[in-house]
Every structure is written in C-alpha cells, then in structure tokens.
C-alpha cells in the first residue's frame, strides 16, 4: 500500500475524527478514501457506544449531572467511538454554539445540547438552528427566558446573528443592523424554559423547552428587509437563506476542518484564506438545502482539503484524543478517566465550559509556554509507556522490520504515529540522537525502550502539535 494513501488517510482521520491507529489507517486505506468519507458521513451505519455496559462500570454516567462526569464521558466517547465524525461535528458545533457550565451549572443539561449536535450536526443547518433556539441550556445561557414581549432581552437575538449564523459582516460590510437584533429578539419572545429542579436533596433534573404564546410579541417585525408577524422559526428561515450565513458557516468549517484562519472577529474585514474553497462550500450550502454533511462531503473530496496537511494547530481535545487513539489506553472502562480528561482542560479547553459565548480562540492561540509544556509532557508520557497496547503495537511493527538504522526507525515511527512529517533539520537531529547508540536490533533488551524514546522525541516536536 502506497505511503501516500496512508498519509492521506491519516490526514482525513485527524480532521474528520481524532486520528487513528496505524492498523485502522491501513484498513481504511484499503477500503478507499471516498468510501471512508462516506463511512464517516453516515455514523448511524456504525454501532454506537454500548451505554449499558458503560453505565454499569461508570455508575455515575446514568445521571451524568456534574460537569466533570460529562467531560469524562465525552473524552471516553471521543477515544472509543466508531463514529468519529459524529463526535467531531459535536465538538465543532460546541466551539461555535457555546454554552457554559459556569452559568448553567448543570452538566447534564449541556450534554443534552451536545447530544443534539451529535444527532443533527451533519444535517440541515436550519434544523440545527431551530434545535439550538429551543435548547434549554442555550435559552438559559443567553437569557432568552428573560426576554418578554413588553421588555425584550437582546442577548440571544444578538448572538444568534453575530456568533451563531451570519457574523457581524463580510467583505467589509455589516451583515445586519442593531434594529435587526431587536426585531430578532422580539420574534423569539415566548421561547422559554420550564424551571429545573435544584440540586438538593437528590440531584438536579433538567429544564425543558416551552413556548409561551402569551409572552410572544405578535406585532409585525421587519428583519433583514422582510416584514411580517415573524416568530422564531420564521427568523431562522430568513437567516438560513442569507449569503452571509453561507459564508460564515463555510469559514467556520474551513477553519475547523482545513486550515487555521484568522480569528472570527476579524472575518468582516479579512478575506478568507482560501476564497475558492469557501466559494465551493457556499455553493454546496445552497445546493444541498443547507446540509452540513453535503458540505463536508464536497470538502473532504476536494484538493483544498487533501493538500492542507498539518495546516492546523491541534485543539487540546485533538491533542489528547489523538494520542490516546494511537496508544490505545482507556479502550474499556477503568478508574482514572477524570484525570485523563482533565488534561484537555489543562491545555486550555475546558469542554462544556468555554470562557465566553465566543468560545475558544483557535489556531496558534491554543499554544502558550504553559499549554505547550502540558501537551509535550502528556504525549511523551503516553507514547513512552511501553505497557500500553498501542505502544507495544508500534514497537512490534518497528521490530518486524528487522535490524534498523536510526533513520529507518525515525521514519517508521513517524509513519506509525500517523504519517507525520518533520522539517529536515528536526528530522536530522532526531536521527542523530537516536543513532548515538547505534542501530536498533529487535530482541535486544534496549530495543523497546529506544523505540519508545524515539516516539517521545517525535511527539515533543513542534510538528506534532499540528493536525
């Protein structure tokens, strides 16, 4: 099998999922690239996690109320899912449609939102916005439950336009006005929630969405140039057909799945990094009736995507999960999952608890001196653990090549970790370091350790921080 096929498959799996073991890459490459794209885009064809067994071992998953319990679950799901794009698209939308536990104080309520992303995240963007508009955690997070027909709260209306669908502007122009924000908020009056049951004595129960017609503003609204007695779903229909929405979602998809773009607030005045690719996505958005899965199908099969290897800095979730899927730890329930999940937070991504409604800044902003050390220490600890089955697999594969030079071992380890590529000088330094003790001979006492150390050197490079 050509190494290019493996390299391309590794790229696809890093972006559309969270990376894959070499054995999975071989299997998927044999099935073919386009077939794998289809497999990823149809998660329901793959088995879901066996929640009965998981809830049996992780007994606290039955209620899943605490934030930390949810973070542990999501971490486990990302590591073990056979539907990687289902989890990846949920993570994608979570980074845009931010809802934070710091305000909601109920992890389960946010999990229900994430479940909605899992269910609808590859479907119609209109349906997704409708789901978001009626999502209790979002309604509470952005105060729509405090927006009344005689006293609107603009928070939801504003963020729906600014952060969740259209963006403040594009091509140097504003996409909407302050009046549009107010009219949008008026249309969503009455979209509220039932009150949750508080924590004591037995634990929280979630809130539910409820439409209160008595609190809905029934007068005409003028929104984005259209006038009528609009309700929330009418507003979503209007939003979904805006070119600015196509642009905004396309840029988000590009930024998440293809290559790091400038931060979102700069999009009004900064053209897309790849205008041709954005145009392709915009066209598919309208052609498909706002279907996100269709946009991803076009994207993953495009040269713009295939040629964008290592054009993104891994998010903390990608950094942790990608390594775990290769070393194959926590492939079944065991204590300590919370500690593992905490590494994602230590690296700057407190899942289900983003810093603001704007979410996390991405790309190079994931990295600072502290988080870089966290990343390197974490990955080096994992790949250097010779007891982990995935590490043992890699050592065995290197060993099956027979006696090898340092250069051969470095290149083989790069391939096994996911067809990583190093800058020439970095690669030369690694080969020099590994070669100081001579060739590597399988069966010798130090063989496994030297392979493990080679893996550790690779995951400590700058290049390993890119997906």
């Amino acid at each position: 099998m050509a190494n290019n096929d493996i390299a391309l498959m590794a790229h696809l799996m890093r972006r559309a999922g969270f990376g894959a073991s070499y054995e999975e890459l071989e299997r998927r490459a044999a099935a073919g690239y386009e077939a794998t794209v289809e497999d990823l885009l149809n998660p329901a064809n793959r088995p879901s996690l066996e929640m009965d067994v998981l809830e049996r071992r992780f007994v606290d998953w039955r209620e899943m109320n605490a934030l930390e319990v949810n973070q542990a679950f999501w971490t486990y799901a990302m590591i073990n899912t056979e539907r990687p794009l289902e989890e990846k698209i949920a993570l994608f939308w979570h980074g845009i449609f931010c809802t934070g536990n710091s305000k909601c104080e109920h992890g389960r309520q946010i999990k229900l939102q994430i479940d909605m992303f899992r269910q609808h995240g590859l479907g119609s963007f209109r349906d997704l916005l409708l789901g978001l508009s009626s999502d209790p955690s979002m309604i509470f997070y952005l105060d729509n439950c405090m927006s009344h027909k005689d006293a609107i709260n603009e928070n939801w209306g504003r963020e729906l336009l600014e952060l969740f669908s259209m963006g403040v502007g594009m091509d140097g122009e504003a996409n909407y006005s302050e009046d549009d924000v107010k009219e949008c908020a008026r249309a969503f009056t009455g979209w509220t929630i039932t009150n949750a049951i508080p924590r004591y004595p037995y634990g929280r129960y979630e809130a539910g969405f409820i439409y209160n017609p008595d609190d809905h503003d029934e007068d005409n609204k003028t929104f984005l140039g259209e006038t009528g007695n609009f309700n929330g779903d009418d507003i979503i229909d209007i939003i979904a057909r805006q070119p600015s929405t196509a642009r905004f979602i396309s840029r988000h998809i590009y930024n998440f799945f293809v290559a790091d773009d400038v931060q979102v607030p700069a999009w009004q005045n900064t053209p897309p990094r790849d205008e041709e690719a954005i145009k392709m996505l915009e066209d598919e958005y309208f052609r498909s009736g706002y279907n996100i899965g269709s946009m991803l199908r076009v994207l993953f099969n495009s040269d713009a995507f295939k040629n964008a290897r290592f054009a993104k800095v891994k998010s903390p979730a990608e950094a942790v999960i990608g390594t775990m899927r290769v070393v194959k730890d926590f492939t079944s329930p065991k204590p300590g999952l919370h500690n593992l999940a905490s590494n994602i937070r230590y690296m700057g991504q407190d899942l289900m608890n983003p810093p603001t409604v704007e979410g996390w800044h991405t790309g190079g902003e994931w990295i600072d001196s502290g988080t870089l050390v966290e990343r390197i220490n974490f990955a080096a600890d994992q790949v250097g653990n010779l007891e982990l089955p995935g590490v043992q697999d890699m050592v065995a594969r290197v060993g099956s090549d027979g006696p090898s030079t340092a250069e051969q071992v470095v290149d083989r380890c790069l391939e096994l970790l996911g067809a990583y590529e190093l800058a020439d000088d970095t690669r030369a330094q690694l080969i020099d370091h590994v070669g100081r003790s001579g060739d590597l001979i399988p069966g010798t006492p130090e063989f496994s350790q030297r392979v493990g150390q080679t893996l550790q050197l690779i995951v400590s490079t700058q290049e390993y921080q890119f997906a």
Binding site: V59, D60, E68, N195, P335, H338
Partner: protein, 342 residues
Amino acid sequence: MTTTRFTGITLQPSHTIGRAEFSGPGFRNPVAMVRGEDDTMYVVSRSYDYRPDGKRITICTLDEEYIGEFARGVTTAGEGDPSDADGSLIWPTAIALDSEGNVFVADEWLNRISIYTGDGAYTSKWGTQGSGDGEISSPSGLAFDQDDNLLLVDCDNHRIQKFTRDGQYISQFGSKGDGDGEFNMPWGITVDRNGDIFIADWRNDRIQKFDRNGNFLMKFGTSGSGDGELDRPTGVAVDKDGNIYVTDWGNDRLQVFTSEGEYVTQTTGDGSLSKWGKEKLDANSEMWQERDIAQGLERERLFWGPIAVTVDDDDNVFVVESARSRVQIFRRQVPVFFGGRL
C-alpha cells in the same frame, strides 16, 4: 379459624432515605444495601470517579438516623485519586452480612472482597483476579447461603462461585451464553428461604433460579419494556412468601413476580422528601425557595437507576437508586381474609 391468603400484592410507599452527599448523612451513587440487625441498614456508595472521598459504606436506621460510615479510603474532601489500601474501595458493587453480622463488600475493580465488623472495623480481604477455580473477575453480587458460605457473582467470568467466608473456593456453576444455566454479565443475587439461588442475568434480560447445588430450576423475563419484560435487570430479592422483586434498571422500575415467575405488578417509584433532605433544606432556606419555583417536582417521585432491591422479614422492600442517591422503601401489602371456607 383459618386464614386464606390471596396472591395479589400492593406496594405501599413508606418513605425515602437519602440525600446526595459525599460524606455524612446521605449517599452518593449508591449501588447496594443490606439490612443489618434490628433496624439498621448498610448502604454502599460508589460515588463519582473524580470524587473518591464519596466512596463509603453508610450505616443508618430505617428511620433515617445516621450512625456512621466506613471504608472511606480517601477522607480528604474533593477531587483526588482513589485508594486501594486495605479496607478502602474503588469500584464497590455488592454487600452481604454473614451470620455473625460481619460485612462483606465486593470491589469489581480490585477484584477483592473486603471484610469488616458490623461496626465497620476492617478485618481482612481476599480475592485473586483470574478465571480459574476460585479466581474472580469483576465480582458484582454477594449473598450468603444457609451454611454461611458466600455466593459470589463472578460477572466477567459469567458464573457463580461459592466460597467459605475466608475465601476458600468451594464450587461454581454457569458459563457464558444464553442457554439455561448460562449467563451474560450476571449482576444481582439472592438466596431464598429454601436455599434456592436467584440471579439477575443482566445482559440476557432475565432472572434465573437454581437450587443450592447450582442446578437450573427456571427462568423468566425477556428483553423489552412491557409487563414482565426486562431491560438489564440488576437486582433480585425474594420475600418470605416467595414473591420475586426485580430492579428493572433499563426501564427504571421495580417489577414483582410470583414464585413461579409470573408477572404481578410494578412500580416506577414514589419517592418523597427524606428526613435528611428536609434537614438540608431547613438549614439552607434558599434551597426551599429554589424548590418553590421549581417545575415538575413530581419527577422526583420516579426511580432513576434502580440498581438493587432487598426485602426484609417485615415486608419492607428497599430499592436503591444509583442516580438519585437514595433508597425508596415500600411496604408489601397482602390482603388477608378471615373466616372459614364457605
């Protein structure tokens, strides 16, 4: 005068014990309980993965008097790593008392049976991970037979093993499968007054009954949510008249069957505000205010994760709810008719 008994059963809600706490009066993700002497009971809390301080065994009374707790390997409040030191727990699953009132607790991560006095003083342990005779893999249910030997549900080995109290292997029955006498990740166990053994055959969605020697006697239950159907039954108990109680975990209900396995009735719970719960709210008046504006409080009545069931000699039926940190107690009511035959 003769007495004629009728087979109808009514479960009358009695009261609810519990409150979600990591220490002190309350439980945290309880998974098992056993009645002790007089009016005492022992409740095993598994707690969250990230809060090992909540793993413990609570001793309290049926009237919700807090007596104490033990087996807390981690006593520092807050996040931390669990301890596997002698007497501590990581993934506790089951509890049983021997004839002398000693407490036996199974831990499915450590593959260890820890033994304490009735007051909670640690005395000893046994258990070796494996699949050979006397080795165990994820023990999930415990029950003493009439000879004071311990029947252990060896979950991941899909079998039942019998040990002496000090862990000497005696015998076993069962293997993986879905035929008669076979198991798929069995969980709860009980021994009735005749010495017959009932197993919640968890992933086969059924209950199986065996004689004291492990010979298959009968089975009942099929996958589903209709009357008498089961979705991952966790616990099983038998009352003094032979009626069988099953925590139907996936369906969030308790079902009752005759001694022949015929469906009788069910309840989806009838929880009420516990004494400890009320004490917490009384001490924090803002919590009462929060509850005053809460909607759908009737949800608190329903079972959420019924994981174990016990019946005592006084016809009290105890249902442990892992997701609600409480035990709902019902009284079994049986019509009793006086008078001679007409």
